[in-house]
């Protein structure tokens, strides 16, 4: 599971959808793997507008990455190759292989195994 995924998923429990604390889900015991991918600055520039930056900062921090800048790179900052390369590495090259994703609202834990996160709920929560 590429790290960018964390920006698009939330808790499967219906009642959590409206709770701000259900997003992003929180990584625990994450095991990472780097998978090299061609660096294309244009891709990062085009994907950035749809990234929830606050959520990504939380995720990066939980995965042990250096702190991201407080605000999303815009304008001239998008010409800085190092900035884009760092984001490429975090969002697209970093794979979370094992670990848990925990909802900040209901505390339900979703398990990640071999890079596949399992968002199915136990029957009492469906």
């Amino acid at each position: 599971m590429k790290v960018i995924t964390a920006n698009f998923v939330t808790c499967s429990v219906k009642e959590c959808k409206t709770s701000p604390s259900a997003f992003p889900l929180h990584f625990h015991d994450a095991e990472l793997e780097m998978q090299e991918l061609d660096f294309q600055p244009e891709f990062i520039r085009n994907v950035l507008p749809r990234i929830d930056w606050e959520a990504l900062r939380v995720t990066a921090n939980e995965l042990g990455f250096p702190s991201l800048p407080e605000s999303k790179p815009e304008g001239e900052a998008l010409d800085d190759e190092q900035t884009l390369k760092d984001l490429h590495r975090l969002l697209l090259e970093t794979q979370v292989m094992e670990g848990r994703l925990i909802c900040g609202n209901c505390s339900h834990e979703y398990v990640l195994k071999e890079g596949i996160a399992n968002f199915l709920l136990p029957s009492h929560l469906v």
Binding site: M1, K2, I4, T5, N7, F8, V9, T10, C11, S12, K14, K17, F23, L37, D38, Q40, E42, F43, N46, V47, L48, P49, R50, L92, Y110, V111, K113, E114, G115, I116, A117, N118, F119, L120, L121, P122, S123, V126
Partner: protein, 264 residues
């Protein structure tokens, strides 16, 4: 004809084997009329579209969409995500999509900075779109379990998808388990619509403001009624985007495009 993604690595014990409906999806998305519609919507619009397939199975539809994004959306950057209630299908999809992207890139002779740059974010085990953030999906693809059946198979639990559980099974238990997972790929309950109806109800919440959904229906699903229902909820459009296999004057399978009315 655009190449069909390779699924030779997929074991069809628990996963739906690409069939007429899957191929209708490929043909519809890449048809001149449909790609024209999609290119107008997504070619120059930033940010890049997030394409999600619910119930990917082998991943053949999502892989095709990713690999042919230039033909379908008029842009080479695209982000894909797949969901399925069967963990094996998620593993299969991950490989089908990455392989299709890689093969397309290798076949392209243009310089590296103008090659296809589709990225598969991940395949997740989930019920339809229930784990996705509201309003996040730009293109939603759904080839449902559409066959009418007496009962709708229940959803698997997280534990049933644990690889450890499957490894500990006896031969007969595995056979039963495989049949159960296969039934999830086709059995749609009453009118074959029980799962599709749940997805249709999710569409307004899950699609972005520019979002569009493609849903496959068979004749017994009564496509005309479905289209009427979508249109009647106000602010939504629905149209047949592709069809196949005429049977006694009726289309056997259709793909319906559902999108928000343009209020500008």
């Amino acid at each position: 004809m655009l190449p069909t993604p390779d699924t030779s690595h997929v074991s069809f014990d628990t996963i739906y084997e690409p069939s007429e409906d899957s191929y209708l999806f490929l043909d519809t998305l890449s048809s001149p009329s449909e790609s024209k519609w999609l290119i107008e919507k997504f070619q120059s619009a930033n940010p890049m579209p997030l394409v999600v397939e619910a119930g990917t199975g082998s991943g053949v539809v999502l892989a095709f969409t990713a690999a042919q994004s230039q033909e379908i959306f008029g842009r080479r950057d695209i982000l894909t995500l797949g969901t399925d209630v069967n963990r094996n299908a998620c593993i299969a999809t991950r490989q089908t999509v990455s392989t299709a992207i890689k093969e397309q890139q290798e076949a392209q002779e243009n310089p590296a900075d103008s090659k296809l740059h589709a990225v598969h974010a991940s395949s997740i085990t989930s019920d339809l779109c229930s784990a996705l953030r509201p309003g996040s999906v730009d293109v939603l693809l759904f080839n449902p379990p559409y066959v009418p059946s007496e009962e709708l198979p229940r959803l698997p639990s997280a534990e049933e998808n644990d690889p450890v559980t499957a490894k500990a099974m006896s031969r007969s238990a595995k056979f039963e388990n495989d049949s159960y997972f296969l039934s999830l790929t086709y059995a749609g309950g009453a009118d074959g619509m029980e799962t599709t109806n749940r997805l249709l109800n999710d569409i307004p919440g899950i699609l972005s403001s520019r979002g569009v959904a493609y849903v496959l229906l068979c004749k017994q699903n009564r496509p005309d009624e479905v289209i009427g229902r979508v249109r009647n909820q106000g602010g939504w459009c629905a149209e047949i985007a592709g069809s196949s296999g005429k049977q006694a004057g009726w289309e056997k399978l259709v793909i319906v495009r559902i999108w928000r009315e343009d209020r500008s």
